[in-house]
Symmetry: C2
Subunit: 233 residues, 2 copies
């Protein structure tokens, strides 16, 4: 039997690793990426490169208008924080939080899964080394899954039982880097930085760069990406 999975793919380290996990598990992967007016649009190119390198069945890029709603440093005119320490990154919910973003993303994934006849949705959230986003926690994912099975024709008629897979949710960043390498992900194709430097390089100081760099450091490997600056841990 063909097993199809819709895999959310931002183009970052985590989503690329989650997609590679799904491939390893034998799913036919349908990658879903959102162009939501994010500052770091370079990640859309990363998503295309990763999807192509991992040979997904289909890669759908949907345009969403989150800028109209605003409310985040990633979608509105609010500065992206730079140079925060690990302790600061681990504390509280930062201004890069995009209101209800994963709920919107998972809602589209659910719609596409239902149309494709897929039961499985894969998202690379992680609740340990993360930016404090509420919609990356296991209790949120469980509540979404429950809702999804009540929301849909396939769920209600019992023809499908939707599952939200979070293969990275309990991993630290270093473990994610190791998994990515084990799965053969070409990490030079991925992109994490929220706000690239004018040179086009990853800034090295936003929360996303710092978490990524911490991951490579813990894994004991060097990041193939070039950075404008690398702050001390």
């Amino acid at each position: 039997m063909d097993r199809k999975a819709v895999c959310l793919l931002s183009g970052g380290l985590d989503s690329a690793t989650a997609l590679a996990w799904a491939q390893r598990e034998g799913y036919d992967c349908y990658a879903l990426t959102f162009d939501y007016g994010q500052r770091h649009r370079i990640e859309l190119d990363a998503a295309k490169r990763v999807a192509s390198s991992l040979e997904v069945k289909e890669h759908l890029i949907l345009s969403l208008d989150l800028r109209t709603i605003g409310g985040s440093a990633l979608t509105a005119d609010i500065p992206v924080p730079k140079g925060r320490s690990e302790a600061e990154i681990g504390h509280g919910i930062p201004v890069t939080y995009v209101p209800a973003r994963n709920t919107i993303f998972l809602a589209y994934a659910l719609a596409w899964a239902e149309v494709l006849g897929a039961e499985d949705i894969v998202i690379g959230v992680n609740a340990l080394d993360y930016s404090g986003y509420p919609d990356c926690r296991p209790e949120y994912i469980e509540a979404f899954e429950k809702m999804a099975n009540l929301a849909t024709k396939a769920g209600v008629e019992g023809t499908s039982r939707f599952r939200i897979h979070t293969p990275l949710i309990k991993l630290e960043k270093g473990e994610i880097v190791k998994k990515a390498m084990e799965f053969g992900v070409d990490l030079s194709l991925t992109w994490s930085c929220y706000e690239p430097a004018p040179s086009g390089l990853a800034c090295g100081s936003c929360d996303a760069c710092r978490l990524r760099l911490k991951g490579f450091r813990s894994a004991g490997v060097s990041d193939p990406l070039k950075y404008a600056t690398i702050l001390q841990a």
Copy 2:
């Protein structure tokens, strides 16, 4: 204290009545409409007229790309059923079901509510005289509300407790027509038909027209809209 509510507004009888309910309850209403490539785009004009007539604080029309996902007679090249009996309409989930539509709509409503500082979201779903859509049932709405409070910064930090209001969920169509009139909704501004006749009139035979006409009949009032044809009940 100002109480803000985000009110989903399609431009139909139900959403207009739900919006009027929220106004009556004293909310500052922020109407949210989606241009999702629906066949019956005339409903967008109806939504604008209704929002203006009910004097909402703001009316946001977001463009969504549901056609790319497809899977419904409302968004893909699948014929809209016509002339179905009430028994047929009440049985099973029809091809006009749009996969995960209310989940996508409510996810955006949640995002906008969080940005506005609103705790209340109003949706005119109704589980009695409805088209059999799974995402119109109370158990679905409850599951969404629970998920919403785990998904958001405001929910997690306890600064907001999101509530999804469904003022019409237990009403029959005839009762909704009566409520609309009690609330002073100008029903000539609303639109329900899924696929207007070539003349531009409501077709009178799709499920949406038939449910609407049934509502006016039970309420003992005549529908101010003109129809291309009106089938016998």
